[in-house]
Amino acid sequence: MTTSNTSPDIDLDNTTRTELERAGVIVSKVDYLYNWARGGSVWPLTFGLACCAIEMIASATSRFDISRFGSEVFRPTPRQADLMIVSGTVTKKMAPQVVRIFNQMPEPKWVIAMGACAISGGPFKQGYNVLKGIDRYIPVDVYLPGCPPRPEAVLQSLNYLQEKIRTQDIKSDPAFTKGRRQYTVPEFTGKDLEPPYNPDVWQPPTNPNVKPLEEATA
């Protein structure tokens, strides 16, 4: 196994570093160490919504074995989990609960939107009770397309997440500086959820081909 460079961004030539390592000394940054530990022990929430959850379970079983990446500790309670894998269709009836569960998770926390449904509503997009993407209410770190994504893809999305974790800066990252992020829980109304999306998290994309109204009328 090749040892990875444990002291990135540190002005240290290779021979000194190897010598130091031989003596049992590692020169590194706190950021690096912290993120390395964090990324190697992401605890996902046992949270299945629909069909995709089965593939999520499959990725944890012996054939695919998510524990190779340090994430085998599935936690049923949000208070002990770092990662929420939104695996499946989020319906409007379920959306408030999803946001509430996300609010209960301690920082730092991440979200993987697994499957077409969690990303955009997927095959059920045109349904009256289907939320068209969980990113309307909570921030998503990794989008994992597929219907359902294969277990290998689940593992890859975890790798992407670990890559993202490695770039976190403890001093400036809002996850560490701002305290626990909490978002508004939508409420049921007669037709739809209120608000239909959280403007702090998500804005509808604008069509570059359509001119704004004033321009068009002028």
């Binding site: 046992t46 949270f47 299945g48 919504l49 629909a50 069909c51 959850a53 089965i54 593939e55 379970i57 499959a58 079983t61 012996s62 054939r63 049923p76 499946g88 269709t89 319906t91 009836k93 379920m94 609960q97 569960i101 095959p123 059920f124 045109q126 349904g127 009256y128 009770n129 289907v130 219907c147 359902p148 294969r150």
Partner: protein
């Protein structure tokens, strides 16, 4: 908020030495690891005893029926996969049967055999996963589930080779199947089927006489024969209550009349969780018998019959049902002469089997309520659709 026939035992709050006790209300779910998805039970507890229980549905209501009424007949086929996502093949079959009732299409021999093979493999997948989850609900976290999923993966591979997808196979078409199985697939299937009983032996040795399983499941969640029939319970759960009713035998859809197999059912009038668990274990053995016969007799030839290019049935109604691994899965279609169904309805076995959940759970312990729910075998995609 009371349910019809079962009434909660007349409850008087205990008052003792000036201490007042009251009932504890717990909302289990929709995010709860033992509810198999997003199902919720509002439970009222006295200590640990359940005195009232209300199931709450709808957290996975994906508007399948409404969507299907706005698209062509064939376009609904992939959506049926997502109903009961363990058993996409049997769902496909039920829907194809209903559509074939609307428009007479002859299904070629080879397709009929492959349909049976796929359906029985699906039954194996469903039952092993269910047993794994069920033992998981009993508190054996992980190990049996890992064993079960190990076997499941073998069958998933077969599905993938045949249809291109692991779970959402979308393999059936009106009048046959989408494509033939690849070369060597039948041999690989034979191999898997031949080795499956070894796994079952191992599993049975591990579980069936396990002291803890016996004491946690026997006498828990009793369901009487009369209530089961009246409540429309179907599938292994009905047979565990002593009714010999298997749609494969009763309707003999497809070519089930050609195979020799037995229908396991209990011979007394009440079924408990252990019966339901055992019926599934026995059913797997029978599925293997069917599979062996089908794999032996399968002929060559076409795999899709002459279906009209544009599927546009004349105004008519059709109801077709199959014996899915969870019970009677039915599709009710009303055609009005357009390429879209006027009414499209799924008869979900999981939802109707839940009718008796309250009756079975009353005056049991809360931990047993979890076991009882596990033994019903629900999949939320089908309960809420």
């Amino acid at each position: 908020m009371s349910s019809p026939t079962a009434t909660a035992p007349n409850y008087e709050l205990i008052q003792q030495d000036g201490l007042e006790t009251s009932l504890l209300e717990v909302s289990m779910g929709p995010h709860h690891p033992s509810t198999h998805g997003v199902f919720r039970m509002d439970v009222k507890l006295d200590g640990e005893t359940v005195v009232d229980l209300q199931p709450v549905f709808g957290y996975l209501h994906r508007n399948h029926e409404k969507l299907a009424e706005n698209m062509s007949y064939l376009a609904s086929m992939p959506f049926t996969d997502r109903l009961d996502y363990f058993n996409s093949m049997t769902n496909n079959w039920a829907y194809a049967l209903a559509a074939e009732k609307l428009v007479e299409i002859e299904v070629p021999e080879r397709a009929e055999y492959l349909r049976v093979i796929m359906a029985e493999l699906t039954r194996l997948v469903n039952h092993i996963s269910l047993v794994g989850f069920f033992i998981n609900d009993l508190g054996a976290l992980g190990t049996p589930l890992l064993y079960a999923f190990r076997e499941r993966e073998k069958i998933m591979d077969l599905f993938e080779q045949a249809s291109g997808a692991r779970m959402m196979c979308n393999y059936f078409r009106f009048g046959g199947l989408r494509n033939d199985v690849p070369e060597g697939w039948l041999d690989r299937t034979r191999e898997v089927v031949d080795r499956f009983p070894d796994f079952l032996d191992e599993y049975e040795k591990l579980l069936c006489e396990n002291e803890i399983i016996l004491s946690r499941t026997q006498g828990v969640g009793c369901l009487s024969r009369d209530l089961a029939i009246s409540a429309g319970i179907t599938g292994p759960m009905l047979r565990a209550s002593g009714v010999n009713y298997d749609i494969r035998k009763v309707d003999q859809y497809g070519i089930y009349n050609r195979f020799k197999f037995r229908v396991p059912y209990t011979d007394d009038d009440v079924g408990d969780c252990y019966d339901r668990f055992m019926i599934r274990m026995l059913e797997m053995r029978e599925s293997i018998e069917i599979l062996k016969q089908a794999l032996r007799d399968i002929p060559g030839g076409d795999i899709i019959g002459k279906a009209p290019k544009i599927f546009k049935p004349k105004p008519a109604e059709a109801y077709a049902r199959v014996e899915g691994p969870k019970g009677e899965l039915g599709f009710y279609l009303i055609a009005d002469g357009t390429p879209k169904p006027y009414r499209y309805r799924v008869r979900p076995p999981s939802l109707i089997n839940l009718t008796v959940l309250r009756d079975m759970c009353l005056s049991q312990k809360i931990a047993d309520a979890v076991v009882i729910l596990g033994s019903i075998d629900i999949v939320l995609g089908e309960v809420d659709r």
